[in-house]
Point group: C2
Chain length 447, copies 2
Amino acid sequence: MKKSEVVVIGGSAAGLTSAITARRHYPDKKITVIRKEEKAVIPCGIPYIFGTLGSPEKNIMGDDAYKKNKIELLIDEVLEIDRKAKKVALKSGEEIEYEKLIIATGSLPMMPPIPGFEKENVFPVYKSLPHLSKMLEVLKKSKRLVIIGGGFIGVEFADECKKIEGLEVSIVEILPHCLQIAFDPEFCEEAEKILEERGIKLCTGEKVVSIDGLKNVEWVKLESGRLLEADVVIIGIGAVPNVELAKKAGLRLGPTGAIVVDRFMRTSDENIFACGDCAEKVSFFGGRPSALRLASIATAEARIAGANLYGNKREYIGTIGVFSTFIGDTAFAVAGLTEENAKRQGYDVITGTFEAPNRHPGAMPGMRPIKVKLIFERRTGALLGGIFMGDKAVGELVNAISACIHYRMTIDDIASFQMGTHPALTASPVVYPLVNAAEMALLQAKK
Amino acid sequence: MKKSEVVVIGGSAAGLTSAITARRHYPDKKITVIRKEEKAVIPCGIPYIFGTLGSPEKNIMGDDAYKKNKIELLIDEVLEIDRKAKKVALKSGEEIEYEKLIIATGSLPMMPPIPGFEKENVFPVYKSLPHLSKMLEVLKKSKRLVIIGGGFIGVEFADECKKIEGLEVSIVEILPHCLQIAFDPEFCEEAEKILEERGIKLCTGEKVVSIDGLKNVEWVKLESGRLLEADVVIIGIGAVPNVELAKKAGLRLGPTGAIVVDRFMRTSDENIFACGDCAEKVSFFGGRPSALRLASIATAEARIAGANLYGNKREYIGTIGVFSTFIGDTAFAVAGLTEENAKRQGYDVITGTFEAPNRHPGAMPGMRPIKVKLIFERRTGALLGGIFMGDKAVGELVNAISACIHYRMTIDDIASFQMGTHPALTASPVVYPLVNAAEMALLQAKK
């Protein structure tokens, strides 16, 4: 029987990153990644296949990292984990003995509990190259696309698919706003405005009751009675952890249906770690179960799992939740809790919002406004979250706030934050929106 | 006699920001800013007047903020501070009584101790509109510009003035590299490569001994004997605090020649605060005197001074030092200590460097590499500094590191940092350079 001291199941963001981390921390161990897919798709890049990239082949995670980090890559499928014998059985018939196992089996698209999603041309978003190639082929021939779900996946798909010539695009979202779980309403409205300006039809506050048609989908029926004509449907309502193997192996599962892990990313079996979408998460705020599933969370967990295989080195602080997206030509980003989410969790909050040009003077090229909203706990002034809208640099600015949340920076800390500024790169130091939003929150606190 | 509870001397970044902050914290006080200049120039924007902007009028700080924040703006000059009577005497003959005074008189260009800088067409960089208009006029008619000093001012001036048609541009820098005080050599070399590719002549490791010519400058003489022909010279070797008024008023001055302040930004007179380039600074690292003078430091200090006028609310943590610049089409940024500066201060350091595309997949538009170097204290793993090179978003990414330095994040903290990533905005979470640079430092530590 083959032996590899470290075996990783799954070769997407979490699997690959945990293997690379294990290699860095344990240079002498044999490390094997078992991946089902011939080619690994970059998960966050999937919507961009359908517009900006134009081809699924352009959204492939190269396999160079395996060679470079001396990690063996097996294209195969694990059928069973034998915890007692510490081995995995593969579809090819092979068995591999392990000392430490990392489960990074990711997630599967959530399917809505409605009739008709088995019709032709109804696509959940699988991270599979053949599936995505098929989707692209169908989309290119279609006239009317209905996207079920107005979260990040839905909105990014809509924005990109709208670039396919002659394709009408609609989004059906059950909540009053698109992106409502991620952003506060004033930001959702800005995003919706951009989508509508791009000609995307939004059906918010609407529930899909069925997907209908003879063989192919022909329309989507909403609870309000409205019928949306459709020759193609994309389902983007979320993801569920892919835990079949773990369940069969008797590993403990948690409240969101994912594999229970401690803060060292160990499962209920001390020789088995889990990370990424298949691993249960707790919120940084209050420690409750968190259903956030993002590649960036997956890789952070993977760097903890990979380092801790033979001894605890890193501890997870809980999921802060840092997202960004790009709609039309505007970046939106959020870290931590929105005002609505914070209130829902029982916080007494104060907020501050500030908008300023992202260049100084305003005559510098590329000038556009950048808007920041910060959310603080009222009594202690501790930062709970930040929401951003503006140019592409917002994608990195939000990461500054992630660090500030981690260390529970207060309003006054942020008001006197030492940022760097430059005419061609950032807002002026006088109106720098981050620090000014903190001052705005102070003003609100006084009222 | 006129009375204003709060009087601010100076209307540049520090003066304006301290007044706005005072207004926010003390809504009922009368606040007056006394500014010498009819129009306030945006200090960091000055180099951009000569290329990108094309006119000094496009680099003016508007005065709207005064009206909006109910701050009185007097265009006048303070001649004397009478600490006993708590009043200032103005050039116009007026006197104003104050309860709290903020000195934000900024800095003046440092003049090199060499003969000839009084020749015609030799320009120090004064933050004055008429002076800058004169400079632009002369530069437009000139054929050969020599810039003395290869720091941020010198390099930005060179990059911008090169956009003036037909102008040859040379930089003379006494140190082996341009930008050497701010960056480690490998980054300086990258910057120098870009400058040279743009046709800028670099004379590094060269000292100017005289500026010669009949009436107008005709050449610059270097210690090596080289003569650089020049019909215009810009002096950009740094700034000295403008403390004449404070000195005359008997306020204590510090080791860099600036006004001594405590961590509440109070001078040796408890009713007088100072902030910005005229205020003495201590380093966040070890508390030694710091000669860094930046608009972003000035505004951070101003937000502390303005809030503390009638009671201590905020305390300065010392100057971290966060810079960014933009050369050719590449952003460079640094926060905290470079490797060389850290060693010079007595730290035993380990560093990690990582380069990755700033988009994922690499086929996304706007893709270019982003390079990160992190500097850690060896024993504790505490972050001391970070250096960045890449696209414009680097200007905000460096601010994430500023927060991480503030909280003395360790290598392992950064390796498991929770950042947000997005195909169109950032590097992939797998190769995200910040966290991977931390892992590289760990590998170095093991050696």
